[in-house]
Amino acid sequence: MGGMDDLYREQILEHHRRPHNQAPLAAPSVSLEGRNPNCGDVINLQLQLDDAGVITDVAFSGRGCAISQAGTSLITDELRGKSVDEILGLGSPFVMELLGVEVGPSRIHCALLGLETTQKALATLRTT
């Protein structure tokens, strides 16, 4: 049960029970739905950027497993003040560090849903 206690630590469960950054933004610069097609985890992410391309605010809503929702909650806490380039440079080690646990291959997509959706949203912003 050691592995389970790592994955479902109090910090993760707390973010799952009371996810942060839930208040919708009035005028987001970009919104994107992120989905885990095999599992059905879903988040709706909103980002507010300033003219310099730095994230000033973030919000999300969603439903899914504890890992997907807590992972998104944790990552959204880290976004404010970061530039698009900084965020596009982040990868799974960053999320693992936030979660404080190495997530196995069957749950990695849950853990990365928040970061990957953020990166996709920022990519759409760049191409438009």
Partner: protein, 418 residues
Amino acid sequence: MGAWHNANGTLDPVKVRAAYPILATTPGGRPLHYLDSAATAQRPQRVVDAVSNYLLTANANPHRGSYTLGQMATEGYEGARARIAKYLNVPASELVMLGSATEALNLVARSWGKANLRRGDVVLVTEAEHHANLIPWQQITREMDADLEFIPVDDITGEILWDRLDSLMKLKPKIVAVGHVSNVLGSIAPLAQIAEAAHAVGALLCVDGCQAVANMPVSIPDLGADFYAFSAHKMGGLFSGGGLWARADLLAEMAPIETGGDMIRGVRLRDADFAEGTQRFEAGTPDASGAVALAAACDLLDEFGRDKIHAHESLMLERVLRELPEVLPDARILGPRDASQRAGLVAFSSDLVHAHDLAEILDRRGVAIRAGHHCAMPLHEQLELSASARVSVAPYTTNDDLDALFAGLRDARTVFER
């Protein structure tokens, strides 16, 4: 009663387990409690032996070799078709051997659908269908400018509202496509009633039998279906393999959707005549070893007795339905509460523990269940769920497996209630 039964004639799952070597393995160092047979059944040693034997002693290209070994290969393949046909109580001449049930349902939609659907025609399916019995109909109705209509489900339990059937028949559908047993709800469709209603307005009935063929007696002529699709790997056969039964007169009128070797009578440079019967739909070298495997699986399931399999599985499901609400009080059970209306599986959701988290925690005890939308996303949308947890049973499921399941559910409660 033979090797698999108790003295009173009921199936003994402990004896049955001996036929499936994987059940004695310990993946990740834990005893295996496999409760995901609805996704794929475990393979009996006998099936693997049958494949080995065929490939090591009778291997040649079926339908081609004029030499002795080639005839042995052909006999092995056609003998397997006959065995599988007998399992379903249909003539071998009406059984098309394909790669999967998905292929079978695509064949019906793309061949029968293309020839018979016109602009404004209606295809009727349920909101609970597996994607394999939904997307092919989405595609062909779009292509033919026909309409796709739905038999609705209850928003809370997900149960299919068959009492809407009569009013929906006023749409005069050309075909009604339903699952024999829902792969999420576990419910057995009232096929006799559906067939009568469909045929009364001139519609055909296409049945996805994937979740029925391994879990209960299935005699296709008694069902009233016009098409019946099934999958080998849910019966203990190989991953590759499945089939389509269709009424002979329908098969005779259907055009092949794949062409090539083995499905022809004569070929000229600019055109070709196609073979008759099932062969017309089996282009290319057939998966003969897969057919042989499935035939061996049919032998074993018949030795168990499908009525006895169904009775055993009903007992297991009854226990799940009874104890689940005690162990996980907020469990929302999808489908009927009565085990007698089910075959093979129970799916549920919980606001306390999401299905993925549940599957993860159960895995710590070696309990394997399915978490997700089970290839039925529209049904989950309708129920406002992102996923559900599915427990499915088999002839080899024991009370020991269910004990481990409930112990794991208690673990999950402990974690999420803390």
